[in-house]
């Protein structure tokens, strides 16, 4: 009889050992916004060189000495507004993106990711005005394949 108990107790102990939950690499993730730069004269994509790109609320810089036709930037998951400061040869323009942060549950190990919907109020505040205008091309951010916002300059 005692042997039977031992086996049961042992199996209880073994089964109660928990496997560590690790979010698998390559699981869905929170995506960034894609912003492309367009020449205001020719209306065609044109590379730009910026001294830096940062958020207003955050002192650290996201991109230093950025150059390229499009840039990917993180949006705030715990706010409905993200503000960026684009520094083009010491000319600073602010881009305020209004968005809905929609959180999607994956599983215990990965938790939530955030998708975004860009609202119409999204605007630029011209300080020195190197940005001519912006257009919202694709308002939903569920992947990083398409450009969401065009900046004309």
């Amino acid at each position: 009889m005692i042997k039977g108990h031992h086996i049961l107790l042992l199996s209880l102990l073994i089964i109660s050992c928990e496997k560590d939950d690790i979010c698998i690499e390559g699981s869905e993730n929170t995506n960034r916004i894609t912003i492309s730069f367009i020449d205001n004269e020719t209306k065609s994509p044109k590379g730009i060189t910026l001294i830096n790109v940062k958020s207003i609320e955050n002192d650290s810089i996201i991109h230093e000495e950025f150059s390229g036709e499009s840039i990917k930037l993180p949006l705030k998951v715990n706010s409905n507004k993200t503000k960026f400061l684009f520094d083009n040869k010491d000319n600073l323009d602010t881009l305020t993106i209004y968005h809905q942060s929609i959180h999607q549950y994956l599983n215990r190990s990965c938790g939530y990711i955030s998708n975004f919907l860009i609202n119409d109020q999204t605007e630029i505040i011209k300080t020195t005005g190197w940005i001519r205008e912006i257009t919202v091309e694709k308002d939903s951010i569920f992947n990083e394949e398409k450009t969401n916002i065009f900046i004309y300059y």
Partner: protein, 241 residues
């Protein structure tokens, strides 16, 4: 799913009644023993889990408790159950949430320990059907993000996520022991292996913890638990000697 639970419950009752019947059959020749073995409701035990209130107060949670009870049916077979209230903060991998609710487990214990005269200890195996109703409130969570430029912690003030009316059902295999420390006062310990039968699937969240069942894992439906009890046994009739 509901049907399955009902079947299991019936099977568990059927199994235990079988034990009862087979016992009486075995002892049919000994008329003196029959009287003693069949429906000798000698005692009713009531008690509390000592561990849960201590743990909840040290963790800063609201009071958690579990009351236990059993009723002797035959010499070795007991009708047994537990009822508990849980209000706990669960700190999970990415999500911290509050789980509050109650649970009820009903089933049988079968004593396998042969006592010497005058002793009343037991080593038992048991089976339970258990159910829990609870609600979850998410306190905060960290959003999985490839970019950590901004904080990815989401607090309650941005978005409140609450789920009520959640439920879970499971069965438990129990292995435990009970030792009489003073006259009619027992200390007990039991280990439980739980097998989840069904649970609620809240929208855009998951059942990660069920009161009475404990942690629910992604990969399988097994859980475990234990209790450490102090019980008092009420003699229902005087033993004839």
């Amino acid at each position: 799913m509901k049907k399955k639970q009902i079947y299991l419950f019936i099977i568990s009752i059927w199994l235990s009644t079988n034990m009862l019947v087979s016992q009486t059959e075995l002892n049919i020749s000994d008329s003196l023993v029959i009287k003693d073995k069949l429906l000798t409701m000698n005692k009713l035990s009531l008690g509390v889990d000592l561990f849960k209130p201590i743990k909840s107060s040290s963790d800063g949670d609201n009071l958690n408790y579990e009351i236990v009870g059993d009723l002797q049916l035959t010499e070795n077979l007991y009708l047994a159950g537990e009822y508990g209230i849980v209000d706990r903060i669960i700190e999970d991998e990415n999500i911290n949430f509050n789980s509050s609710g109650s649970f009820l487990r009903i089933g049988f214990n079968y004593n396998m320990f042969e006592n010497w005269v005058g002793m009343d200890n037991s080593i038992y195996l048991g089976l339970r059907y258990a159910t829990s109703n609870f609600s979850n409130k998410i306190i905060n969570y960290t959003v999985r993000n490839q970019d950590s430029y901004f904080s990815n912690l989401v607090e309650n003030d941005f978005q409140t996520i609450e789920y009520s009316g959640l439920s879970g059902n499971w069965i438990e295999i129990v292995a435990g022991l009970k030792v009489e420390t003073f006259k009619n006062v027992y200390l007990g310990f039991s280990l439980r292996l739980n097998k989840l039968l069904s649970d609620s699937e809240p929208d855009n969240f998951d059942t990660l913890f069920i009161p009475g069942f404990n942690k629910v894992t992604d990969e399988n439906t097994f859980g475990s638990g234990f209790n450490y009890t102090l019980t008092y046994s009420i003699p229902l009739r005087k033993k004839k000697k």
